[in-house]
Symmetry: C2
Subunit: 211 residues, 2 copies
């Protein structure tokens, strides 16, 4: 149904969700675009325009009901359900990802972990038994997993991604430092701290700020 919504808008919604959740925990009932914008470093107009793609959630003269808007955005983003995920690559990085406590509270849970390395397969990591990569397609299908996390070395990452796409995965969080290729029907987001550092050094070197 939503078709011409800019991707940047979708990328901002989770940020709004987080801010609203914080406000709700503080017991706030109402917030306006002005205040929300200040907290997030975004203009009020931006927020109102973003929300207008999806409906009318505010009340003129008042602002937005925090709980209501939060619920609406969660619904829009699909955050009202639990998302099972598979992890591919159980090396040092993969283990850190499994141990990371930030996913589960937001409804994202790694339910299976895979690796090619025979020395790792069969081991238990944080309660997960590492499976052979060969079994990935069947497991993905059986457990109806739509999201995967890739934490393998750059050299094998594209192959792994191809395999995941073939298995029917619809979204991939990629920690491998490569420019991954996938059909447009599959979402890919890269997590790449080195790229972030390498672009920041430009500004540090050419001091004076980004403007």
């Amino acid at each position: 149904m939503p078709q011409e919504i800019p991707e940047v808008v979708i990328d901002r919604l989770p940020v709004y969700v987080r801010a609203l959740a914080a406000l709700e925990r503080q017991g706030r009932e109402v917030v306006n675009s002005q205040e929300l914008g200040e907290r997030l470093g975004v203009t009020p107009a931006q927020i109102r325009k973003d929300l207008s793609y999806f409906g009318r959630f505010g009340k003129q003269g008042r602002g937005y009901n925090v709980g209501r808007l939060l619920e609406e955005l969660r619904q829009i983003l699909g955050l009202t359900k639990e998302w099972p995920m598979v992890l591919v690559g159980v090396g040092q990085l993969g283990r850190a990802i499994v141990a990371y406590g930030g996913f589960v509270p937001q409804g994202f849970r790694i339910v299976e972990a895979f690796d090619v390395d025979a020395k790792i397969v069969g081991a238990t990591v944080d309660g997960l038994t590492v499976k052979s990569l060969d079994s990935l397609p069947q497991v993905v299908k059986r457990r109806k997993v739509e999201i995967a996390i890739v934490a393998v070395p750059a050299a094998t990452a594209q192959d792994v991604i191809d395999m995941l796409v073939g298995a029917g995965v619809k979204a991939i969080l990629n920690y491998a430092p490569i420019a991954a290729h996938a059909p447009a029907s599959v979402q890919i987001k890269d997590i790449d701290p080195v790229l972030s550092l390498q672009s920041m050094t430009f500004y540090v070197n050419n001091a004076g700020g980004k403007t």
Copy 2:
């Protein structure tokens, strides 16, 4: 000196650097914008336009000399030197960051680690002795550190960032899930896998791809 260069352009340069480095390892001497674009999922015009902000690095009818262009871009980004960094927050996430092997080969090295927790201060993590947060300003100044990594809980992240800014740090890689505030003269890049997941679920839920 460079002043009207879009930030998105700067963000793409490290991607070009990585591709060029890979080509160089393969022994390639020349590459054109067409091929580079295909590898990176970027249009050839984009690449040529991006590079044109900084100079004329190509030869008509031929393309770009891989080694030459790589060297130029490294120079532009400031990647020809070593960048010492400090880490704040030596919990589970912080330890994983220290252990991460992707920084050092690119010239980024964590030289000091800090924490508030008295139980952690004094401990040795991967060869680093964890220092008290109180000593951060002096250490940053003495060692002339310009880049910091923040891996503390959300609740204390803004305070830590303020402290880093006060100490003179010029770039911050922020792993805390907050919308951080800092003066425009200080670069901030966020690493936030949860936000990435939360926006991808939108497209998974509304299947049919991003177009």
